[in-house]
């Protein structure tokens, strides 16, 4: 059974992982966090990454063109069939990967993985986070 804490623990097994959390991007609530966080403040980090995730999830620039755009757009950012899969921020020393969690109820949650740039592998991390985001809601 994959709960929030189990998924976060597994996220920390990703090579280079420094810290991981599950965050709600509408409210900025941290639903759980493990490892360390930038400036040792997981709650402030959650609120800041939530702002970034919200912009990616909601701004029209990132919604792909398609027949469903517009009229049915109301359901496209409720956690179901999100237009955006992940957001990656590269700093001089680290990677931040935000992976959206797709749910069948109205929800706005993502994984945040903070990893060391020298030790981390971005492609591997994206792959593992995708699996974790699915397992969190599929059990």
């Amino acid at each position: 059974m994959a709960g929030i804490d189990e998924c976060l623990f597994e996220a920390m097994q990703i090579p280079g992982a420094l810290g991981a959390s599950v965050v709600d991007w509408t409210s900025g609530l941290s639903l759980g966090s493990v490892g360390s966080a930038p400036h040792q403040d997981p709650e402030a980090t959650a609120a800041e990454t939530a702002e970034l995730a919200r912009m990616a999830a909601e701004h029209p620039a990132f919604v792909p063109d398609g027949p469903d755009e517009g009229a049915t757009g109301a359901t496209s950012s409720t956690g179901k069939e999100l237009p955006v899969e992940d957001v990656i921020v590269t700093t001089r020393t680290a990677y931040h990967v935000l992976r959206f969690v797709e749910t069948t109820f109205d929800c706005s949650v993502f994984f945040h993985l903070w990893m060391d740039r020298d030790q981390g592998n971005l492609a591997l991390a994206r792959h593992r986070l995708r699996d974790l985001a699915e397992r969190l809601v599929l059990g």
């Binding site: 059974m1 994959a2 709960g3 929030i4 998924c7 599950v22 709600d24 509408t26 409210s27 900025g28 609530l29 639903l31 709650e43 609120a47 909601e58 701004h59 029209p60 757009g73 109301a74 359901t75 496209s76 950012s77 409720t78 969690v101 749910t103 069948t104 109820f105 109205d106 929800c107 706005s108 949650v109 397992r135 969190l136 809601v137 599929l138 059990g139």
Partner: protein, 251 residues
Amino acid sequence: MNVTSPMLLRLAAERATGALLRDRGTLYLADGQVVHAESPSSPGLEVLLTASGRLRPEGWREAVDRAGAKGLVGRFLIDSGQLAGGELELCHLSALHDAAFFVLGPSSGPTRFRYGVVHWMGPVHAVPTDRVEREAARRRELLDRLWPYDSVDSAPVVRADRGPASPVTPRQRSVMALADGTKTPQDIARALGRPAFHTLVDIRRLAAAGAVETPRAPAPVPSVPAWVADVGADQDVALLIRLRDALEAAL
């Protein structure tokens, strides 16, 4: 918030189990941590799960009927394969902080604590009391930053005649579609199966953009029905009966 803080600190320190009753709702504590919260201002867990069709209303009722008395409704929903553990946790935490935001909000009413009261939902995910209080305070600041007028939080909202000054997001569009001048933000949250706070965030953003207004005097804040105060009597009787049984068994 200032009223409840010392009380919550004390309850956390003594690892208390029971219900903290305020006029905007109830916090349930187990071993000094918050395990559940309910408020008339926020949709309950069942609304979040059934409005989207994720859970059938019959499935929810069956879980309450069969596991409610044992206080294991959450466990039943998972064991019967209706929900994944992670899904329940996400929804439960979302509903808990949503209700706690209103319970811990400014209030002139009394705050009481009933020892021994256990919620029928059962254990899902416990949150330390200071974490719950910090989050409620942070949410209040966030709303004030978006649009510092709380009249839009409780009154019916209506779409403004002129269009919004900035683009409206898909989530905001679904809120605006229901802003018909009769529904309050709480009504809209319930209809969409979204947390009330999330709806307030969208409504304050829309108000700041000039997309919605409040056409009439704010509706009265919903308060807990009077029967909530009576719950205590039954709980006390149940506790006395358990005590008597335990004493008799020991003799």
